[in-house]
Symmetry: C2
Subunit: 348 residues, 2 copies
C-alpha cells in the first residue's frame, strides 16, 4: 500500500501546455466573436491541458461519495444527530437523495462508499463497503485515527477511482460533524485562522457555532505541530476526506479533471495538493458555498467557481450541477465550426 501511495505522488504529470495552447488557438478560430464565451473558453483550454488532449471530451462523469462519522460530533457541533450519516447512506442506496437525482439528470455513475460510518451497515446494502473504522475518535481529546488508517483512507479513494472509467471525477461526502473537521484540517494545512474557516454547516445556531470554534481551537492546540499532511489527516480526520483526496490523486495520475464540490470536498482537494502539489492543476471549482471557509480555500487554491447559487448540501451536489457546463465547454471546443469551415467573415 505504501508503495502505491508514494508511486502516485511521483507519477502525476504536469499540465500539458502544448495541448492547452492548441485549444487556445482553436477557440479563436471558432464561429463566434473571440472571447465571447467567457469562462467557458478558459475552461475548455484548461480541460485540454489537464487531459493532454487539444480536443477533450467529458463523456463519463463519475461521482464518488464517501460517508464517515466524526467523534467530534459528540461535542454538539452539528444541527443533526450522528445517526443521520448512516440514514443518509440508506437513502443513497435507495436512490432517494439529492445526489441520486442529480446523478441521473447528468447521466453520471454514482459510487457511494462507507469508509467510516459509526454503525455496521448490512452487506447487501448496494454501496461500496470499505469501512476503515467505526468513525474517528474525538480529535479534541486525541488523534482521530492512526497513521495507517489515514493511509488506508487515501488508498481506498485511489482504489475506487482506479476501478472506475470516469473521465471527470466529482468528489462528495456525507458525515455529520464534517464541516468542523474540515475547518480544523484546513486550518492545520494552511495556517489560516479557525475563525475564518468555521461556519454554520447544516445550520447550527450561535451557541453551536461557538462550540465548533472552541472544538477546533482545542483540537489544534492539542495536536503536535507538523506540516506532514498524513500526520495532520491522522490527527484530525476525516476518513471521508482522506478517501476524497485519494480520488483526486488517482484522477490526476490518469489526467482526469477533478470537479470539487463544497467546503469539505475542497478541503480534500487541498489535502491532495499538500501530498502532491502537481494535483493543483487538475482541480476545477464547481461552485462557491455560503460556508465561509469555502471561499477562503478557493482563494488559497487560486480557483474560481463556476456557480454561486447559495448551495451548501455537500454529497457532490454542486459539482453534479456544474457538470453540464464542463461538458459543454469541451463540446464547443470540439464541435463548433471554424470561420474557414463555415465560410463566415471574421471581424472587419
Amino acid at each position: 500500500m505504501l508503495t502505491s501511495f508514494f508511486d502516485i505522488t511521483k507519477s502525476i504529470l504536469p499540465f500539458d501546455e502544448n495541448a492547452a495552447n492548441q485549444a487556445r488557438v482553436r477557440q479563436d478560430q471558432l464561429t463566434k466573436p473571440q472571447g465571447s464565451l467567457g469562462r467557458l473558453e478558459d475552461l475548455s483550454i484548461q480541460l485540454a491541458g489537464i487531459t493532454g488532449n487539444p480536443l477533450p471530451r467529458i463523456d463519463r462523469p463519475g461521482i464518488f461519495v464517501f460517508a464517515a462519522d466524526h467523534g467530534v460530533a459528540a461535542r454538539g457541533v452539528s444541527a443533526y444527530p450522528s445517526e443521520v450519516t448512516a440514514q443518509m447512506v440508506w437513502n443513497y442506496a435507495r436512490g432517494g437523495a439529492v445526489i441520486n437525482v442529480l446523478a441521473q439528470q447528468i447521466g453520471a455513475q454514482l459510487a457511494v462508499a462507507d469508509v467510516g460510518v459509526s454503525s455496521v451497515l448490512p452487506e447487501d446494502l448496494g454501496i461500496v463497503h470499505r469501512k476503515i473504522r467505526l468513525g474517528t475518535a474525538d480529535w479534541t481529546q486525541g488523534p482521530a485515527m492512526t497513521r495507517d488508517e489515514a493511509m488506508r483512507a487515501i488508498q481506498t479513494g485511489i482504489d475506487i477511482f482506479d476501478a472506475s472509467e470516469a473521465d471527470l471525477a466529482i468528489i462528495g461526502e456525507m458525515g455529520i460533524g464534517n464541516t468542523t473537521t474540515a475547518a480544523a484540517l484546513s486550518a492545520a494545512l494552511t495556517g489560516l485562522s479557525p475563525s475564518d474557516l468555521v461556519g454554520r454547516g447544516t445550520g447550527v445556531d450561535d451557541a453551536g457555532l461557538a462550540r465548533k470554534l472552541a472544538a477546533i481551537e482545542s483540537g489544534l492546540a492539542r495536536m503536535p505541530k507538523t506540516s506532514d499532511p498524513l500526520e495532520i489527516l491522522s490527527e484530525i480526520g476525516g476518513l471521508e476526506i482522506g478517501a476524497m483526496a485519494g480520488v483526486a490523486l488517482a484522477a490526476a495520475r490518469r489526467r482526469v479533471p477533478i470537479l470539487l464540490d463544497g467546503f469539505i470536498s475542497t478541503t480534500a482537494g487541498l489535502l491532495a495538493t499538500a501530498i502532491a502539489p502537481a494535483v493543483r492543476d487538475y482541480l476545477l471549482a464547481s461552485h462557491r458555498s455560503p460556508e465561509p471557509g469555502h471561499a477562503r480555500l478557493l482563494t488559497q487554491l487560486e480557483l474560481t467557481p463556476l456557480l454561486d447559487l447559495g448551495m451548501r448540501l455537500g454529497e457532490g451536489s454542486g459539482a453534479a450541477l456544474a457538470t453540464p457546463l464542463v461538458q459543454a465547454a469541451a463540446a464547443v471546443l470540439r464541435d463548433v465550426a471554424t470561420f474557414e469551415q463555415a465560410g463566415v467573415s471574421d471581424r472587419e
Copy 2:
C-alpha cells in the same frame, strides 16, 4: 392577426401561488438541510408557480433563434459586417454554430427562423422562412419598419412557439448591429439613459462605441415620444426582437417558463412585459453578460441570473447552458425522498 395578438395579452394567467406554496412546503420536507440547495430551491418553487404544477417537469426545452438585419449597421456600430447575419444562418442550418452544439448537449429542439435577414436565403435551407422584410431601415433616419410589420414580427414568434411542444422557451437571436438596436429600444421602453445601455457588443473599439451612442441618441431624438410598445418597436426594431417577444407572450399563455439569454433577448423580454405585464412572472434570467445594458435590464425586471460567466455571444447560448440547472431544480423537487419516506431524522 390583430385578434390573436390582443387575445394573448388578455389570456395570460397570473403566477399560481397555490402551486408555488405546495412546492415550498415540499422543499422543506426533502432529505437535505432546509435551504441547503439555495437558489435551486427558489427556482423549483418559481417553476411550480409558472407551470401551475407543484411537481413541475422540464423535459422538452425549445430554443427559438431569430435572425434579422438592422439598417443602423451601416453606421459602423458593429465589429462585423452585415453579411455575417446571413452567413451565420447558413452555419446554424449546417449545425456548425455554438448554439447547435449546445442544443445537442442539452437535448433541445432548435428552431432557427429568418424574420428579416437582408439577403434572400434559399428556400431549401433547413430553417423556418418567415422573412418580413429585408432588414429594418436605418432608424436614425426614420422608422425601422411599419406598425404592421412590427405586429407581424410578434405574430411570427407566437406562431412558431405555438407550433412547438416546448415546455421551456429559450429566446435567442442573430443580427449584426442588434446590441445598438436593443440599447435604443430598451432606452425608449424604460427611460434609462442610452449611455447606461450601450456597450461593446461583439467587440467594437472606442470609436465604434462612440458611433453606437451617437446613433442611439439621434434615433431617440428623431422618433415621436410614445409609450406604446408596438409603436416603439416599429420605430426602432428589430424584427428578431419582436419575434422573441412573441415567443415570450405565447409561452406565458401556455404557462411555459421563458429562459432569457443576454442583452438582446432580455430586451425582448422587456418588450413582452410592456405589451402584457403578466409576462414578467414567466421570465427566468439564465446569465448575466458583460454587456453593461444587460445588468441594467435585469435590475429593471427584478431578475437574478443563474450564471455569470462573462458570456456575450447571444444565439441563446447562455440560456442553453443554464437549462440543465432549471431541469435539475424541477427534478430535485419531484424526485428526492422526504425525511418521512426515507426514515431520516430531521434536525434535533
